[in-house]
């Protein structure tokens, strides 16, 4: 397998390369769950993270959906925020300079009502120093125009990505929706259209109702489910996407701990984004990063890249093997 063993006392190499985007480590924060980064600066040294993906930006400020916008579900969070954001202009003027001072690698998530709006946003942000990449949001389930409408149709998804590609040289990440029959089809379409990297998944379209008032719990009726409840779905989507395309993939969905993150890396994600866990524990992203480093040391891994995509699917466990003592995991092959 060509592992680079960790020399005694030296830190494992956590750098990952996502095509044109180089990260100091594979832990990013997910858009919509970390504000503009500054909201968490009392808890997290932003410069330690692989990067932060800021709250999705539109050309003009958006007020978002009417409340109630949140409902908690077993092991999950249902939201219908509706992409409330300050708009690209205010972000560039007010938020970005402060964020840059903190030394964070900044990825901007963009969203539009039309293909042209996505392209215009890309052009605007391309001329601004301090932005490492753009993440194209074609998968938000909470808006009527744009969002998931683009992300569930391979042709439309490709149109958005191609239009954005023409207007920027920044690395492009396309964020995919799980609310499709075949995530692989969408993945192939957007990569062919010029996406350098894929991130998956966005929230899962879902619903919560109140049996006493007989009303939906969200004013929007439907929302996007996130948190630990969706991790197995996300893991499957990442696995299928990794099989379908050759570009790097970022795993997102219910990552709460370093072990969760490692599962995504194991199936082939080159990096992960931590989302809802930030709400639960403001330091979650750094705890996950520290946990990955500890894991590498424990496993004798010199570099995290030695671990990425090493899932062994050829192995079929006979029933008898399941009785083995899992508290002593076998050494890494």
């Amino acid at each position: 397998m060509g592992q680079s063993p960790t020399p005694h006392g030296s830190a494992p190499d956590l750098r990952v390369s996502l095509g044109p985007l180089q990260l100091a480590n594979p832990v990013l924060t997910a858009s919509g769950t970390f504000g503009y980064g500054l909201e968490f600066s009392d808890f997290v040294d932003l410069s330690r993270l692989g990067g932060i993906v800021v709250k999705g930006l539109s050309l003009k400020p958006r007020p978002g959906n009417p409340p109630p916008r949140l409902a908690e579900t077993p092991c999950g969070l249902l939201n219908a925020i509706g992409l409330e954001n300050v708009g690209v202009e205010k972000f560039i003027e007010d938020k970005l300079p402060l964020l840059r001072q903190r030394g964070a690698l900044i990825i901007v998530n963009i969203l539009g009502n039309t293909v042209e709006e996505y392209a215009e946003l890309a052009a605007l942000l391309s001329g601004v120093p301090g932005i490492a990449a753009l993440e194209i949001n074609i998968s938000c389930p909470n808006v009527k125009k744009g969002g998931m409408v683009f992300g569930t149709d391979p042709h439309m998804a490709a149109q958005v990505v191609a239009a954005v590609r023409k207007r920027t040289h920044l690395p492009l990440i396309t964020k995919l929706s799980p609310n499709v029959t075949s995530i692989a089809d969408i993945a192939r379409a957007v990569v062919d259209a010029g996406s350098d990297i894929l991130s998956c998944i966005n929230t899962v379209s879902a619903m919560a109702v109140d049996p006493f008032s007989r009303r939906p719990k969200l004013a929007n009726i439907l929302g996007g489910l996130s948190g630990p409840a969706i991790k197995p779905i996300a893991l499957r989507c990442v696995y299928e996407t990794v099989q379908a395309v050759s570009c790097p993939v970022i795993g997102i969905g219910g990552i709460q701990t370093a072990l969760d993150a490692l599962e995504f890396l194991l199936v082939g994600a080159s990096a992960v984004q931590v989302g809802t866990a930030n709400f639960v524990h403001p330091r979650a992203s750094l705890d996950i990063l520290d946990g990955i480093e500890r894991f590498c040391r424990q496993q004798g891994l010199g570099a995290i890249t030695d671990y990425i995509g090493t899932l062994d699917t050829s192995c079929r466990f006979p029933l008898a093997d399941m009785s083995c003592d899992l508290s002593h995991p076998r050494p890494f092959p």
Binding site: G32, T33, G64, P67, L70, N79, D210, V280, H281, P282
Partner: protein, 290 residues
């Protein structure tokens, strides 16, 4: 002001009334900068993912010299039910202090009204403690606490409130103690009796109380602040879930929201579009286990 995440230790957990518990927490890193009206996010389950999110609670009492604060917990869901069962000695994950607190009175000359509906006494007690040890220390008679609940058994801390020297006006929906009717009706009656308006009014209570009070203060020249609640995921201004429809300077046709965690939880109720507030934005009245 720095916000911190702290493993706070539960020192006491008392049942104060049916479904209402008072927790005393030791949190020496959070308490020093905490102010009346601010809140903390309390994670109920330190292990596991259900319930997933932390819950927001206002400071009920602050004991800065001891590094302690108190919370009043009303059982409204599974999270608060678990919290009510927490044992002394066990730790809780707490993030705070968060949000904007009350604007503190500056003059003993001001007549100050506190209007508490049910569990709404929670944040008002911290402010009352502050006022009675600072501005109104020598003039408790200029402080009025209107405290209304559904029935007499739901009152909290009545004995200590009676000892403060303030005007304590109690009301119950069922007439079992004090005036019969709502706490807002008690305020209106008092203003009539006194033939004067207070300079300041601080309030916290149920949605119907908030709506009723907001209607009453509309157009009146009183300084008013109300502690509001909304479903939150983070409490830090990141999730944007705790939005409340708000008045915009450009007119009612402009869609505009305030966020309880950052713009509040203490807000002038005249800034909120109460006509657009849906009943489900506040939590149900009682926890039902079927």
């Amino acid at each position: 002001m720095p916000r911190v995440q702290e493993k706070a230790k539960i020192l006491e957990n008392h049942k104060e009334a049916e479904g209402i518990y008072r927790l005393v927490l030791y949190a020496p890193r959070i308490v020093p900068t905490a102010r009346p009206g601010q809140f903390v996010m309390v994670r109920v389950a330190s292990e596991g993912s259900d319930p997933l999110l932390a819950r927001p609670f206002s400071f009920h009492r602050l004991h800065k010299e001891d590094g302690l604060f108190e919370l009043l917990v009303r059982v409204v869901g599974r999270g608060t039910q678990l919290l009510s069962q927490s044992r002394p000695g066990s730790p809780l994950q707490v993030v705070g202090p968060l949000g904007r607190g009350f604007t503190l009175p500056t003059s003993a000359q001001e007549t100050v009204f506190f209007v508490a509906g049910g569990i709404g006494i929670a944040p008002l007690q911290a402010l009352l403690d502050h006022v009675l040890t600072t501005t109104h220390k020598d003039h408790p008679e200029r402080v009025y606490l209107f405290y209304g609940v559904r029935t007499a058994g739901e009152f909290i801390s009545l004995n200590s409130l009676k000892r403060t020297g303030i005007h304590l006006v109690l009301s119950t929906d069922d007439g079992s103690t004090g005036q019969s009717g709502t706490v807002v009706e008690a305020v209106q009656q008092s203003v009539k009796d006194l033939s004067s308006m207070p300079e300041r009014l601080y309030a916290c209570g149920s949605l119907p109380m908030q709506v009723s009070l907001a209607r009453w203060v509309q157009g009146r020249n009183i300084f008013v602040e109300m502690s509001l609640e909304s479903m939150m995921a983070c409490g830090l201004g990141a999730c944007l879930g705790c939005a409340l429809p708000a008045v915009h300077a450009d007119g009612p046709e402009v869609e505009h929201y305030l966020h309880v965690c950052q713009d509040g939880p203490v807000l002038d109720p005249r800034r909120i579009r109460w006509d657009k507030v849906q009943p489900l934005m506040v939590r149900p009245q009682t926890y039902v286990s079927l």
